[in-house]
Amino acid sequence: MPVGERIGRIDGRDKVTGASRYVDDLPFQGLYGRTIRSTLPHGRVKSIEFDKDFDWSGIVRVDYRDIPGKNIVALIEDDQPCLVQEEFKHAEEAILLLACEDKERLDAACRAVKVIEEPLPIVLDPEEAVRQGWILKTLEITRGDLQAGFAKADFIVEGTYRVGHQEQLYIETQGVIATPHADGGITVEGSLQCPYYVHRALTSLFVLPDDKVQVIQAVTGGGFGGKEDYPSMISAHAALLAKKAGRPVKMIYERGEDIRATTKRHPAIVKHKWGVSKNGDILAADMSFVIDGGAYVTLSPVVLSRGLIHGLGPYRHEAAWMHGQIAGTHTPPNGAFRGFGAPQSLFAAERHLDKVAKVIGKDPVALRQYLTLREGDVTVTGQQLNESVGALPVLAASVPKYNAKKAAVDAFNQEAEKKRSPVRRGVGFSFFFHGNGFTGNGEAKIQGKVDAEVLPDGKVVLYTASTDIGQGTLTIFRQIAAETLGVSVSQVEVAAQDTNIAPNSGPTVASRTCMVVGKVVEDVSKALIEELGSFLASKGAGPESKGKLSYQSGAFLFSEERVTLAEAARHYAEAHGKNLKVRRQYQTPPGLSWDDATYRGDAYPVYSWATDVVEVEVDLDTAETRIVSCYTAHDIGRPIHPVLAAGQIEGGTLQGLGYAFMEEVVWKNGRVYNDRLTNYIIPTSLDAPEIEVEMVDVPYSGGPFGAKGVGEIPMDGPAPAVAQAIDYAAKVEANELPITPERLLAMMERR
């Protein structure tokens, strides 16, 4: 049974021996590329001066005039230029590209360029931007009669919650190699999540037919959303240089450039005003959600949408009005980062629920148990939850853990008080859900495709553009196909994530790879069996025996005969002069409907569910926080690979813990000030607690072998749990992230 087994990851040996080839490890002969960027947050390029004393021979220069097509990076709205023409809207916007064979001469060339910038008015604060009317997009969700809800409420509870930027901080920085071809085509190989996003950006930029652009994913050293949209930009730059040079160009960002110039998690300001009954029933929920999009639209509308849909948490409510805005600011565009709007809005929802609990005088965990959505309940978009609702199981698993930790924390604090120690402990609980796959009609629009070919020796090759960025795509797809085909995992291969051979499976984002594309892998594997079965039946014993044909453990059985997959494949190839290759694409599970105009319906095919119980220790003198322990219960359906799935949960949980109390992007006049690993701090092995993961499997019939999504949900819960725990320890209301010592000290002073 390949599914559910803890096999070693397919790429494991290469990764532990150093044999894996990331983009900067690939054999390369060509030029190195660099980017000259704006330094002001808003302005005009008055002139570009090239030092006359510098020897410019052998240096390739590219500016906006070298772009054959439209000067945009094609994504949702075509508003972001690839290279600045005159006006720029944020610092670190690319103005000029240089390439040279010699890295040291390239550095010198970069120093020999002077861009004269003329400042224009700026707005850096998203709330100020909204006041000034720079709003990139708005979105509303309404449900029920809000005014009636407020009218019958016993309490009106209001709160404001703020979260900051977060840097993805994949350990491998952004990088690509672009190679031009004599026929005008271009190949880009690099560190990226979504080959077909890059493909589309390049065909549009160079006005090339699809088959003249090839995008290949190299082994990728982490993404977390940060390599969803930005690779289109760096690929475009490298490709422009390569085209002009007529030779391959490699661009690898240095860490500081990567932190300063590429996307981050959107900061958000969330305001809640809820009308609640004295039991805690949410009768009316008014939510305002402002996210800072940065200077261009990029992926922000989708982040806004996911944030809003998750904005009331996994709780029952009668009426809601949710109002979201993307503020434009003169800062680099914010983009995808694991969770995609949900960590921001779920932090606010959980914090607000804590406030409600305080107002009505109820235990915060008991209130969550009371209000949780259950099977048959309806979400804010009017979606009735009909299947795989893991809310009660995750709550049931985690509440005893919370109670035990709370008792231990109370005992610790009593002792600490006696000893007059400044150290206090606290425990926090969060409950959250995450919609799997694209929102609404997204999956139906994308129509993710997977091909499967069976070779004459019985090897099955999967062709998919879904990338493995560490989460284990290459391994779990093999497991799913092997399980479906009744063969061993070693009999299944996955071809390269190369747009020349792999169909568009959709982007590797949105907790969709396992559940959505994995289902297509199952379907295409079944299709191989069907096709080979009908081939055997047609050439074999005639139509009457067709019904008796069956497939079991890697072989067709009909009448007395047993034909293995390999034999059938060989017969097929001999008869047809080619191997059997089939394609399947995403089919919307029955019963789902969505109306984009009203934002009503089934926002996601299904949700994953989870709780976190976090124990912290706060030094009340220094306001330093340490995470003592972390327990998490997750319903992600049935895990395809228990070790890889737990790895996703542990890793996402630690990123969420970092978001809660450590990771802060500091800005100075629209530029990231802490652009190094020395001062943008992520958790080390000493900052990380032991993370206990409990899987509560509630299988989903629409996923492969019952699987749902796991990539993002672990990121959603740690921050509110940490905040609640810090509240407990330090007697504050930690409603802003990150809760750094500086911020906590200010909160304690305000107390």
């Binding site: 990764k15 050293g221 989460q471 070790v643």
Partner: protein, 160 residues
């Protein structure tokens, strides 16, 4: 400048600028690309290698400092296709995800276990690997892998 040193038990001579980073010499002059660059300032540990048995960040070492030294990189950890227990445990326990920190992590863990010689506590392992950043795993499965590798090494040693 001509610099001669041993890399993974093989003598190498390179003709490079004396201040060229050991990291670049390994990666670009000797094609040993297993050693990775994550930050270029000694914070992330992706370029961890051993110089004369000392764990260092190769991005902070000018190559002139390794004249005559013995350098060990991730490529030298497995012997004749036989994985080191730390490596096989990383595969079995899920210690590697994206894999970019893995080579440095493996070198640091192997060095730690060689010096520790016993079965370290999880806290000791955490301390030993605190100079190697990982963004994927939450460190849980890395600690699991090193813990299991230590057990395997100790039981193998006692059975010999």
């Amino acid at each position: 400048m001509k610099i001669t040193f041993e890399v993974n038990n093989q003598e190498k001579t390179v003709e490079v600028a004396p201040m060229r980073r050991l990291l670049d010499v390994l990666r670009y002059d000797l094609a040993l690309t297993g050693t990775k660059e994550g930050c270029g300032e000694g914070e992330c540990g992706a370029c961890s290698v051993l110089v004369n048995g000392q764990l260092v960040n190769a991005c902070l070492v000018p190559v002139c400092q390794v004249q005559g030294a013995k350098v060990m990189t991730v490529e030298g950890i497995a012997t004749n296709e036989q994985l080191h227990p730390v490596q096989s445990c990383f595969i079995e326990d899920g210690g590697a995800q994206c894999g970019i920190c893995t080579p440095g992590m493996i070198v640091a863990a192997v060095d730690f276990l060689e010096k520790h010689k016993g079965t370290p506590t999880r806290e000791e392992i955490r301390e030993a690997l605190a100079g190697n950043l990982c963004r994927c795993t939450g460190y849980q499965k890395i600690i699991d892998a090193v813990e299991n590798a230590a057990r395997q090494i100790v039981s193998k040693r006692s059975s010999v």
